[in-house]
């Protein structure tokens, strides 16, 4: 459906809104990348930059919501146009949340840089962040290209992120049991890992929106999840899930 509207201003409005979302997506990808980099390299200055940058992401979300409200009021969009506006609003919300998690990672980086490093943790979180960042980039690509297949692929990749988080969860538990002096740092690191895992959920939701935009239907198969490990109580493996 690439024919132009008879009202050219409608096309310009829709294009402008989608361009804002892509700009927002670029900023969020950068925040994830730089947040996890600052954690790894204990770079407080870079972390501070990520914290400050979140404001621009929040402002873009406000702008997108305002512009969507205007298009709804003025154009009464239908079909693909309606789905474009609806999905743009949701995706902007998801991106804003991911931006907040990246900002939180940067905040904790500043605290963690004062502490003894926990071996291997920041590299593992960086790998996890890289995966989430690449999923986000593909989810946004799938959105722009109306590519439901690529979006489905992204939805299924979230399983890996869940598994990475579960592995880290167990690792942190071990570190904390080994040496209670690790507890403060491991608690911060665990929050970061949990936040990156939540980023993955928001990326999945963006991929859902890409599927909805392309096909008019929300994906109906439940995406695979792996959260068994952390809800399992040692010694009670047979317990009800």
């Amino acid at each position: 459906m690439n024919d132009p509207h008879i009202a050219k201003a409608f096309d310009r409005d829709l294009e402008a809104i989608q361009a804002q979302v892509m700009k927002m997506g670029g900023l969020v990808e950068e925040a994830i990348r730089e947040g996890s980099k600052s954690l790894k390299s204990r770079d407080v200055e870079l972390a501070e930059k990520v914290r400050r940058g979140d404001r621009q992401i929040d402002e873009l979300e406000d702008l997108i919501n305002t512009q969507c409200a205007q298009v709804l009021a003025i154009r009464q969009p239908a079909a693909t146009d309606l789905r474009t506006v609806l999905t743009v609003m949701k995706i902007a919300g998801n991106l804003e949340r991911i931006g907040d998690y990246a900002k939180n990672m940067a905040k904790r980086t500043e605290v963690l840089s004062q502490m003894q490093p926990v071996e291997g943790a920041s590299s593992a979180i960086r790998r996890m962040s890289k995966e989430v960042g690449s999923m986000l980039s593909d989810a946004l690509d799938a959105y722009v290209r109306r590519d439901a297949e690529l979006a489905e692929d992204v939805r299924h990749r979230d399983l890996e992120v869940d598994q990475m988080y579960n592995a880290l969860f167990r690792e942190f538990l071990t570190f904390m049991m080994e040496d209670p002096r690790n507890i403060t740092a491991c608690m911060h690191l665990h929050f970061i890992a949990k936040n990156v895992e939540r980023m993955g959920d928001h990326v999945t939701s963006i991929a859902d929106q890409a599927v909805y935009l392309a096909t008019g239907e929300m994906p109906d198969d439940p995406r695979p999840k792996d959260n068994k490990a952390i809800y399992r109580v040692e010694g009670f493996e047979e317990a009800d899930e």
């Binding site: 024919d3 509207h5 409608f10 789905r83």
Partner: protein, 266 residues
Amino acid sequence: MMKDNVDAKVGVNAMDVKFTAKDVQVYYGDNHAIKDVSVDILDKTVTAFIGPSGCGKSTFLRCLNRMNDTIPIARVEGDIRLDGEDINAPQVDPVQLRAKVGMVFQKPNPFPKSIYDNIAYGPRIHGLAKNKADLDEIVEKSLRRGAIWDEVKDRLDAPGTGLSGGQQQRLCIARAVATEPEVLLMDEPCSALDPIATAQVEELIDELRQDYSVVIVTHSMQQAARVSQKTAFFHLGNLVEYDDTTNIFTNPQDTRTESYITGRIG
């Protein structure tokens, strides 16, 4: 990609069907205006016909109460049944048919008579009232149905043509329901009305749905979206897509429907 003609029976309970049209063709002289249209129109439902000018939506609407009979060069083929009865059968009297299948037109066209007589005319010629008291009751009931009683009850002797445009249109709707029809056909009933009068007529259409099958032709897609439960999209004489209104406006299956409802050239 969908076929030109959608099997309209999908998901429709046969008990609820009011009109069944099969393979309907209409020709105006050499012009093939309606091509192979098959559709089931449901009872107690508002069905909207949408499509660009000249797509055949009004022509098809007019087949449903044989208004095309009045056009000498028009020829209608195919099978149209109202409650299972062939409406084009030789024994069917078109006047009786039109009492059952009422019509409201684009421009309000009250008779140059009093408000009372505008409503009473139909019931009188069809012998629906035994006496004056009966007729008074029909007139009041119809004007109430038309959501105009409160505005005209003190001046029933005033000429219908003296009412405002919106009132005249509601008077015409009241006139159409006075003969106790089963179906109401509306050909762009709001295109000559202001937004307030339009809202009143749309509210009325929603109320009429409790008792009638309503079919409305409209150029306003927003109006189709607001008032109807089923929408049929016509294009170049074909019925392109027929589905629940919510599906048509959020996720149409045919690219021609999509192009039309989103305001694209297509």
